[in-house]
């Protein structure tokens, strides 16, 4: 079994507590707590510069040889990849990153030298992986342009676990923490996730808090739809609404692109995926350029500035995410304290 991190979450929280005592204490109290029946969240930090600011953190956890060199997977351009232990919710993941930001004295969210990877338990089907990637891209607060170099990792052509050049990646059968609550089909809280292994990860690049929340929501809906969880019907509705939206925008062919590298991948799949991603990026950038509104500026001058379009795909994705977030929050309140539906 591949080992991706060789320290305990408690050790990390104790270390962070030396510089961010309030945040680390608050996090320790709820770090494994699952919220609204959503999935647990894992994070990997790929550092594109020399990573000097992480030195004290890595030394405090046991040193580079113990913490970093056990992990052979990283962004091909990165000096190292720090794997964080999974936590129970998106809110805890965000708080963990904020505590690390405090500890190292530098930003992680929105930092162009840091590439974040968000890990969700459960291997999604290729079609659901495509929906996850598309929903992340269109729902993010930043529209990004990619080159293939942005998506290259040390496992892209690995002999045993080739992952290709993709935005969405499967795990490499490494260690897996399944001790997080799972809401089963009847709304009963089971103490463990229903999979012994398997993750679907997203290379989000220079990410934000909103990205973490959106991916956690969408991954939960899609995983529950495919693994018969409590949110199964909501997840199926979400998938159908996403596909209908893509059809309206004549983008339904994107879902057929190989968004995730499977074991039976064909030659040219990396290029086929990248062509699909480029089409999505061009569509989103096109909408940004096309949809403008006139604003009166200082000294009575008018200027066209990017605006929100009710019929645009970007606005539609925001509406869709807000709708399903609200539904999850409302319906999860029906689950009683004892774990039974009210």
């Amino acid at each position: 079994v591949l080992v991706t991190y060789a320290y305990r979450l408690q050790d990390l929280l104790s270390l962070l507590g030396t510089k961010a005592p309030e945040g680390a204490t608050a996090l320790a109290a709820k770090v494994r707590r699952v919220e609204h029946g959503l999935l647990s969240v894992g994070l990997k930090i790929h550092c594109l510069d020399d990573g000097e600011k992480f030195h004290k953190l890595i030394e405090g956890l046991g040193g580079s040889s113990r913490i970093l060199e056990v992990n052979h997977f990283k962004d091909a351009r990165a000096s190292f990849c720090l794997v964080l232990p999974p936590v129970g919710s998106a809110a805890s993941a965000i708080q963990l990153i904020e505590c690390i930001e405090h500890f190292i004295g530098s930003s992680i969210f929105g930092n162009s030298h840091i590439q974040l990877q968000l890990c969700s338990p459960g291997r999604l089907s290729p079609r659901a992986s495509a929906l996850l990637g598309i929903a992340f891209y269109l729902g993010s607060d930043t529209l990004r342009r990619y080159t293939q170099a942005d998506l290259q990792t040390t496992f892209q052509s690995d002999f045993h676990h080739p992952r290709g050049i993709r935005l969405v990646l499967y795990d490499a059968h490494g260690d897996f923490d399944k001790d997080f609550a799972w809401w089963n089909r009847c709304g009963v809280l089971e103490p463990e996730l229903p999979f012994t292994n398997g993750r679907t990860d997203l290379l989000i690049g220079s990410g934000s808090r909103l990205d973490v929340e959106n991916i956690n929501l969408v991954a939960t809906l899609l995983v529950h739809a495919e693994f018969d969880g409590f949110w199964r019907s909501l997840g199926e509705e979400f998938g159908a609404e996403m596909e209908a939206m893509l059809r309206r925008h004549i983008l339904s062919g994107l879902v057929a692109a190989p968004w995730v590298r499977e074991s039976w991948a064909q030659i040219g799949d990396d290029e086929r995926f990248f062509a699909g991603l480029q089409e999505l990026v061009a569509y989103a950038y096109g909408e940004f350029t096309r949809v403008k509104e006139r604003r009166l500026l200082l000294f009575g001058r008018w200027r066209d500035v990017p605006a929100r379009s009710p019929n645009g795909i970007l606005e539609e994705v925001q509406t869709l995410l807000a709708k399903y977030r609200k539904l999850v929050e409302t319906q999860s309140k029906l689950i009683g304290q004892a774990g039974e539906p009210v």
Binding site: S140, T142, L143, R144, R145, A307, V317
Partner: protein, 52 residues
Amino acid sequence: MIRAHQPGSQPIDIPEAIPNPAVPRTVPTRTPAPKEPVKVPAPQRARGPAPP
């Protein structure tokens, strides 16, 4: 930044990343600037003979 140019049209610059116009941007709340300290005149000693 990529500069895209088709003959017969204005060249356009395509940035690496742009803000998603559909996501409302959160404006950071400004912390109020500390007020200037108010000068309090020092209590003046009354002139004249010291009290007995």
